[in-house]
Symmetry: C2
Subunit: 412 residues, 2 copies
Amino acid sequence: MKFGGTSVANIERIRNVAAHVKREVEAGNEVAVVVSAMAGATNQLVAWCRELSPMHDAREYDAVVASGEQVTAGLLAIALQDAGVSARSWQGWQIPLKTDAAHGSARIADIDGNLLIERMSQGQVAVVAGFQGIAPDNRIATLGRGGSDTSAVAIAAAVKADRCDIYTDVDGVYTTDPRIVPNARRLERVSFEEMLEMASLGAKVLQVRSVELAMVHNVRVFVRSSFDAPDAPQAGPGTLPPGTLICDEDEIVEQQVVTGIAYSKDEAQVTLRRVADKPGVAASIFGPLAAANINVDMIVQNVAPGGAHTDVTFTVPVGELDRAMKVLEEARGEIDYEDLQGARDVVKVSVIGIGMRSHAGVASKAFKALAERGINIRVIATSEIKISVLIDAAYTELAVRTLHSVYGLDAA
Amino acid sequence: MKFGGTSVANIERIRNVAAHVKREVEAGNEVAVVVSAMAGATNQLVAWCRELSPMHDAREYDAVVASGEQVTAGLLAIALQDAGVSARSWQGWQIPLKTDAAHGSARIADIDGNLLIERMSQGQVAVVAGFQGIAPDNRIATLGRGGSDTSAVAIAAAVKADRCDIYTDVDGVYTTDPRIVPNARRLERVSFEEMLEMASLGAKVLQVRSVELAMVHNVRVFVRSSFDAPDAPQAGPGTLPPGTLICDEDEIVEQQVVTGIAYSKDEAQVTLRRVADKPGVAASIFGPLAAANINVDMIVQNVAPGGAHTDVTFTVPVGELDRAMKVLEEARGEIDYEDLQGARDVVKVSVIGIGMRSHAGVASKAFKALAERGINIRVIATSEIKISVLIDAAYTELAVRTLHSVYGLDAA
């Protein structure tokens, strides 16, 4: 079970979390719980570090910031004991949950689950401080913001859990953002691959890394609402309460062609006009960007009429646009282009579905529907299970609603 | 160097602490710093634990509460680095600073100073989270409230420090409380034994346990103000800035007969009238109190006229009076007394000085001076280096001022 910052924001909510955990224990489950810091706590700690030094030592930042989850873990253990449930808190170094040396945004290297499994088998709930572990230098390392989801999936894998329940402020994964499409449907099940695309494409329910980890270790992740009454009757054995199960595609019986529509406003478009079309031109563009650590997505190259020149378009994270433009201006002599254009007012809309693998014509349906609404497509990128289009940001809602409807995702 | 909660209460003050540390580093010293939690942080954490459960697990309480010092240690390390001083933070389990198993009020069992010494010799300031260590169960243990002084002295002993500087909100130890006697003098030097008496008798400058530890390990402790300008010129080699040095009595050249006057309002008087005077009567009174874990002080027994009965008077901490009275009422049959009286409106005033060992007539001077002021002495207790009297609380200020003056302690 994993509970985020708003679920443990104060003492009353921590008691509510304890009630959720107690219900699972009383149902006969062995339980590990991963908790985030109380909402706001991490922001305060980060702000102090920044105020002292914009270039603070990541190891000290980790020592400071990790304290937030330690507090919540101890408090939840106390709340559980007070509710009559045997429990203890665990910090990363006690488990141990080992990470690599990348302080501030470390990756989990190895978790020894034996101690946790031993205590859980004795009926003791393991309350684990999320978002942190111990680096090779014997110092605390944090996993980067939102890392508690990743902690939870990794702990679930280490203790060979049947399921990793992520309690969040929504009751599952939807076919699209319900704020845009009010009749979006909650998905009962989504495959790891689809969720990975939905997460990377802007669905905010789960961290991308946690989904990757779940896929690699085949950890079934169940997303459900922490606002459900903790004592509400749960569904019977083998079935689940309202939520979304993220699992292997073999577990998904009735496969839909399209599972969901995602969108991301974190995109900016870069276009290089009339680039001299010679061997190595792609390397001369993307080499300097990679060297500057700028992520590039959705690359399209069109041969211009005549053949001696080509237009190259791609997207970068919107926060990196200025830096990307600067890098490309500095490399102008190397690349040899006529014009450089950047645009922020774009959005990437994606159609995702594992069923695309076996169905033809999925993409053309999207293009046709968008064209009928007069929505111009700037860039197209496709993979085995998704189609992404870059369009003017003003058409975001219209495009999402159109695609949601055309693929039959609207609730009855 | 040790800095308490008010000295690290916000980012600005943490920077000020960094400036103090930098000054010592630039003077050529190898430095370890022990820090408390930011003022108020510990109280908030304790309040959360209590709100969740009045009977909370001390191990979880420790995990929660210890986070306050971890935050300060990391922040001070960042502040030092920002000021160009090499530094890193240390948590108890990283040093390791081992404690016994008494979670919530643990005692230090052993400190391995090797890692700290190695890093300090490389010019890296060791910033140690005070008030905590690691217990035999591999979990964090705290040393009890105010334990950061004890941490500091223990770390100083472990790294074989020349001196342990305690920065606090006063500029040293005074001959008595300056709020009562405005012309009290700051003491340049006090012996461990005297400071131990002053600390146990109510002078709030240092924790009793830290002074005991300093005496056992012969750690010279220097009490000075954290409000001094960090860049003020320090006294030359071999001398010290304003403050009080607590050291071995051999280091104190000009020994005074009386060093200071202390008082404690944390006393309550218990009197048993007409106790049957038979062998074992003391055991029948103090056995049940010890069993109830009540500390007894200042015991006086007077044979009443006739010889068959005796009056017994002693003091207990004022917070334990009700419990002590109850214990004694329940043991009435056993003890066989006529009347039981308790009084809260009393104060213990003490005259302390290592010179008393070699000077006669010190005590009678006090009794005479108090008598001349019409102050009635309820109980007297003496040791080799102190005389304590229990008097009516209303006379506290008068008694302290009288004794301060009669022993020549007033500033010129």
